[in-house]
């Protein structure tokens, strides 16, 4: 019988990776939900952000916060540019899959060109520090990441719910023509949202750099799970994506603690299937 400490520690671990899933999925969920674009390049952007963090904070020795301050706005601009491209060519939902796949391949190649296929690790002295809470250990970086993920989710939700821009965005997504009749400029909003989504990718990438070792091929490793999280949470639902991430992360982690790690995907995805089929509404 696994001990309470083991269960508690695994629960924490699941929560943290769930937070990362949510953070990675947040931008994707927004652009899929509101812009009707399936942006595979989101993953490539996240990893580009990770590599840039590695370069700035690791190789160039910059302070990590400074690196973040550089990366996030730069990615916002990148996101705006991508959306401009999509709009200029009137790319529809399924065509966007192809275009973004092409972009992913290009970004991956650029990453491999600049940093080789070798594995790169950003070593921070504070990277693996943990706080001890009772018998449990809380790794600081992961906790920080989860806090950021939660904060961004809630902030995005609030932004969409309460601000004019947010409401305009939601109206525009539901019915662009009617919203336009009320003065909502869909194109500007789309650019803004795309920039925000890309900025979120950059933030996610920063944490990935601190927590994981990087290699270009990993871009594809996260796609399956994060896609699942995004759809499960409801497209465009910033709180939902975090909750969905937690569901999958925790179910996997607890399976690893109690049964065997290899069965983890079975449990989490069977759970997902049951939720979808049996519950009248998704999360």
């Amino acid at each position: 019988m696994p001990s309470a400490t083991l269960l508690g520690q695994s629960l924490l671990s699941g929560i943290f990776i769930g937070g990362l899933y949510g953070l990675l999925g947040l931008g994707l969920s927004l652009s899929w939900g509101y812009l009707r674009l399936i942006n595979l390049a989101h993953f490539a952007l996240a990893f580009l952000g990770a590599y840039l963090t590695y370069q700035l904070a690791g190789v160039a020795g910059m302070h990590i916060l400074l690196a973040v301050l550089i990366i996030v706005p730069a990615f916002f601009v990148l996101g705006v540019a991508m959306q401009w491209l999509f709009t200029r060519f009137s790319v529809g939902e399924f065509a966007s899959l192809l275009v973004s796949f092409g972009m992913t391949v290009i970004i991956e190649s650029a990453i491999q060109w600049l940093w080789t296929a070798d594995m790169r690790k950003l070593q921070l002295e504070q990277g693996t520090v943990s706080l001890q809470v009772g018998t449990l250990f809380v790794p600081v970086t992961e906790a920080l990441m989860f806090a950021v993920a939660a904060a961004l989710s809630v902030a995005t939700w609030a932004w969409l719910r309460f601000t004019y821009v947010g409401k305009a965005m939601r109206a525009s997504a539901e019915n662009p023509e009617i919203a336009a009749a009320f003065g909502v400029d869909h194109r500007r909003l789309a650019l803004l949202l795309s920039g925000v989504a890309a900025a979120y990718a950059g933030v996610a990438g920063t944490f990935v750099a601190v927590i994981y070792t990087l290699s270009p091929a990993q871009i594809f490793a996260w796609m399956g799970v994060v896609f699942a999280v995004v759809i499960l949470g409801g497209l465009g639902n910033p709180l939902g994506v975090l909750v969905a991430g937690l569901v999958i992360g925790v179910s996997e982690s607890m399976t690893m603690a109690v049964i065997a790690p290899t069965w983890a995907p079975l449990v989490s995805f069977t759970l997902l299937i049951l939720v979808l089929v049996l519950r009248p509404d998704r999360i």
Binding site: V91, A95, F269
Partner: protein, 580 residues
């Protein structure tokens, strides 16, 4: 007659490819072409379900992987001959598909991205089971001792021929489906599944059939591929490549045409293969990405979509007016009260989460009459129509139509019995032409006509509503008035005994209303019973033989129009208490 020539040409092309090894080309030509055919098979099989019906599956990897492992395990551990393992591979994959479909297709919410998610989840589940049980267990399965039947002296050539076989089998299937009843139903499902069901398309069965075909073909392709790679591992087989690439290939080539995915598959495979020089591997990969982007930016509907729009290849034309035999005329029933009861609702109740939309509705519709159904907004008129036509299932009560209780029936069966409806906001199938929209109803409705007869019937009804000149246009090119008439034509092409017209006059100009009213009269004259939901009281009083008034889900009055409108509670319901 033409399709026989096309079929012969198809078989010839397949034979040429199959005979290629006899010309002793370098082995790599066979290897490379095999890869192309492999992806053609996978992409085409995916498209049969997902491209045609719009149910985008992220789970093609599960079917392909099932087939791969079926062959791998049966051929090595049980020493079953290769060809039989292929059959097993296809059947097992199809079984998996049917089980998934049987569960998922019944649940109305699970469409669009939720279906994609579900199929993705199934892939993970299957992969994990394979990895953790004796099927693979970890070390992978090595097919070194397995040899295919000796079609050619060279095993590689034989595998190539199998590849040709499955590719052309997939293409033939996709082609046959596209031009069959199944295909037309799938395309309708793509555009608007609920409307398709109500028009008589057996959506559940059709989706299941498409999924079964799709997964069978993918399973067989997987089985053949097991022999090609010789060493089968879970991480390679269930990688995210297969699900993503089949989507990319189909979208690139055009997902609405049977040849589209093949074009996309050939293009992408050739592209990945073209740049394999060791020198500039990384730059080549970037170039591949760039080319993909450029192609789709300039051909947003895929290659076949571009071809179709440029050359207007695939729009059936309206058959000539004179050879259209007029549809059977039912004897014009006398106007009032003389007909037998055709439809009766008996205490029908239907609630949605706290709102009781129908609170015990009972009414009768007699054969040959026009029954008006009126009431304030929110009184339950459209809900009643939805209940009768089968979109909603009442919680309680009976709806008898020609002696049968409709309550427990699927909507498509109700359509077959002879019930048709129009929608308040027209819901045409946007990607089908006007003619195809109406022909679909003729094919799947009570009339159940074959393709040629359906087109004739459609032509007839389009002439009836005055849309004959626009028959090859798309619905988006019509204005509201025309779309309403399209709705009408579509409903009538089913040759229904009862047609439910849901606010067919709303949004029309007075002149248009007049012509619409005339049409409605003509419809009744030809023998169809009509339930006429309207707000326009002038038209109602002109047309209807008897009037039912609904309020808050209950019938508050039923009878002759002139009398009903003077009733106290009717006036109160409409105009408020002060006017009583």
């Amino acid at each position: 007659m033409r399709w026989q020539y096309r079929a012969a040409a198809f078989v010839c092309v397949a034979a040429v490819f199959a005979a290629l090894p006899a010309f002793r080309p370098p082995a790599f030509v066979e290897s490379f072409l095999y890869l192309v055919f492999f992806w053609v098979a996978l992409a085409t099989s995916w498209n049969v379900l997902s491209g045609y019906s719009g149910y985008f599956s992220f789970g093609h990897g599960a079917f392909y992987g099932t087939g791969t492992y079926a062959t791998a395990v049966l051929a090595t551990r049980y020493e079953i001959p290769f060809v039989w393992t292929l059959l097993a591979a296809g059947l097992m994959a199809a079984l998996l598909g049917v089980v998934i479909g049987a569960v998922v297709f019944r649940v109305r919410r699970l469409r669009g991205e939720l279906f994609a998610l579900l199929t993705l989840a199934v892939t993970y589940v299957v992969a994990t089971i394979v990895l953790n049980t004796r099927i693979d267990g970890g070390p992978g399965v090595f097919l070194s001792g397995v040899s295919p039947p000796k079609l050619y002296p060279n095993a590689g050539s034989t595998i190539y021929v199998f590849g040709v076989g499955i590719a052309f089998a997939s293409l033939a299937t996709a082609w046959a489906v596209q031009y069959s009843r199944l295909g037309r139903g799938l395309f309708a499902i793509h555009d608007d599944e609920d409307v398709a069901e109500v028009l008589g398309v057996p959506t559940f069965r059709f989706k299941l059939a498409a999924l079964a075909l799709s997964s069978f073909l993918a399973g067989v392709a997987g089985g053949i591929h097991a022999l090609f790679v010789t060493y089968v591992t879970v991480s390679e087989t269930f990688a995210v490549t297969v699900p993503v690439f089949v989507i990319l290939m189909s979208v690139l080539g055009g997902a609405r045409h049977w040849l589209g995915p093949a074009i996309g598959a050939a293009f992408i495979t050739a592209l990945s293969y073209a740049f394999v020089s060791g020198d500039s591997a990384v730059a080549s990969r970037a170039l591949v990405g760039l080319i993909l982007i450029l192609v789709i930016l300039f051909l947003p509907h895929g290659v076949m979509g571009f071809a179709a729009s440029r050359w207007r290849l695939f729009r059936p034309q309206l058959p000539e007016a004179n050879d259209a035999a007029a549809p059977e005329q039912r004897p014009a029933a006398p106007g009032r009260a003389a007909g037998a009861v055709l439809l009766s609702c008996d205490n029908v109740r239907l609630g949605f989460r706290g709102v009781q939309a129908l609170a015990g509705v009972s009414l009768e519709v007699r054969e040959g009459e026009i029954l008006g159904l009126v009431g304030p907004n929110g009184s339950g008129k459209s809900t009643l129509v939805n209940a009768i036509s089968g979109y909603y299932r009442p919680d309680f009560g009976r709806i008898l139509f020609a002696g049968e209780d409709l309550v427990k029936k699927d909507a498509h069966r109700i359509a077959r019995l002879g019930v048709a409806r129009t929608y308040q906001i027209p819901r045409p199938f946007l990607r089908l032409s006007i003619l195809e929209n109406v022909a679909l109803a003729a094919t799947f409705g009570a009339a159940a006509l074959d393709r040629k007869a359906a087109h004739r019937e459609a032509g007839h009804w389009l002439r009836f509503v005055g849309l004959a000149e626009r028959s090859s246009a798309l619905p988006s090119e019509l204005n509201l008035h025309q779309r309403k008439f399209l709705e009408l034509a579509r409903a009538l092409a089913c040759r229904p005994r009862l047609v439910l017209l849901d606010e067919v006059l709303s949004g029309l100009t007075p002149a248009e209303i007049t012509s619409a009213v005339a049409l409605v009269r003509e419809i009744r004259r030809r023998g169809t019973t009509i339930v006429f939901i309207e707000h326009n009281m002038r038209a109602v009083l002109e047309l209807v033989d008897s009037l039912v008034v609904l309020n808050y889900g209950e019938v508050i009055a039923q009878g002759l129009p002139r009398e009903v409108v003077r009733q106290q509670d009717v006036v109160t319901a409409y105009l408020g208490a002060a006017h009583a």
